[in-house]
């Protein structure tokens, strides 16, 4: 089966939030409480258990490369964020129930009828994507519309995107499209355009993202980590620390017993 994923080209995003709405509609997700963040047009604020697409609104005090606007030193950046479906997924590696699986489309899927809500995936995601819902106690995140893919339909967010900022398809094809897009943007003077997580070489900690992005500023500006790492890659250190601690405990116990003997 082909690997399928998202290429989200943030330079095409107009911040309409149609992806957020389509995702909520299709997946029948509950609302988040209609709060105002007071920080921007972004009132969703973050991805979570009931928000699987989130549009970030960034007001920059600098113009975009190769652009002059009537506003002077200003540019809007929008980015529709989503679960990255990492090639090496922290949530999947940490799951003790086997609820989180890799599907035939190479996406990462949480089986809601298996998850027992231990919450280990929540701290193991280097992107802060997956979260536990308060009402049913189970972890939820983007499924890459697994149900729609089963019927050869594209995910709801990509379907609803009016500018094709969200592209869905075969991962290898998406990478080619993305590389061409970066070259086109560079030719137009948008020299800051680059791909985030498009391949294992550029993001070894996750071995590449099945949902990758084209960005024009630092990852931190979009609330993305610069160098995300699946925590289990450090489990060897953890296990050897455990072994040392166990050994120390045995030595201490032997010492304690020895000291009682004449």
């Amino acid at each position: 089966m082909k690997q399928r994923g998202f290429f989200t080209d943030t330079t095409l995003c107009i911040g309409c939030k149609a992806c957020e709405v389509a995702c909520k509609e299709w997946n029948q997700l509950p609302d988040d409480g209609f709060h105002f963040t007071g920080m921007s047009y972004d009132n969703t604020a973050e991805l979570g258990a009931s928000t699987w697409r989130h549009v970030a609104f960034i007001e920059r005090p600098v113009p975009l490369g190769g652009q002059e606007t009537g506003l002077g030193n200003f540019s809007w950046l929008f980015m529709s964020d989503v679960c990255k479906h990492c090639a090496r997924a922290g949530c999947l590696e940490s799951c003790p129930t086997g609820a989180i699986v890799r599907t035939e489309f190479d996406s990462v899927f949480v089986q809601p009828d298996v998850c027992n809500g231990c919450g280990y995936c929540v701290v193991s995601c280097p992107f802060g994507v997956i979260d536990r819902r308060v009402d049913d106690g189970v972890a939820w995140k983007c499924t890459l519309c697994y149900d729609r893919q089963k019927d050869d339909l594209e995910p709801a967010c990509a379907k609803a995107c009016p500018t094709d900022s969200i592209k869905f398809g075969d991962l290898l094809e998406l990478r080619l499209i993305a590389e061409q897009r970066v070259q086109d943007l560079h030719a137009r003077g948008v020299n800051e355009a680059y791909l985030y997580g498009a391949d294992p070489a550029s993001q070894p900690g996750t071995q590449g993202l099945n949902a990758f992005f084209l960005l024009v500023d630092k990852p931190e500006v979009y609330n993305l980590p610069r160098d995300p790492v699946a925590p289990a890659s450090r489990s060897e250190t953890g296990w050897s620390s455990l072994a040392m601690a166990g050994l120390g405990m045995v030595v201490a116990a032997i010492g304690a017993v020895w000291s009682t003997r004449r």
């Binding site: 921007s40 920059r60 003790p96 680059y194 017993v257």
Partner: protein, 132 residues
Amino acid sequence: MIPTDSDTTALATYYDRPILKQPVWIWTVPAYFYVGGVAGAALVLGAVAQLTGDSELRRLVRTCRSIGAAGHVIGSALLIYDLGRPSRFFNMLRVFNVKSPLSSVSVRGFWQPEVWPRVSLRLLPSGSGSDA
């Protein structure tokens, strides 16, 4: 490739919002670390005391085993209480995942054959004095 602080804009973060999610764990998890640690240490101490074969240490061995058994029961209860769906606790025992410390420890901890018989012996009044 990826721009650094010296490049581009004055912005450093996204409205100072955290990138990572807060843990959903409640007080029972740190409580478990303490209870489980004490129980584990007691079992190690008891095992070493038993291996010496010193009859004067028989009482220490028994105490250590009781603490270990009680900690095992209380620790399990604390961990299960923390789950979003406690009734699905057993889902944690159906797979073994070396990369997940939570999986390894719960599978190893719960299915260890040497402890549960002792737990029952310790907690039953008639068995409390026996040297199981």
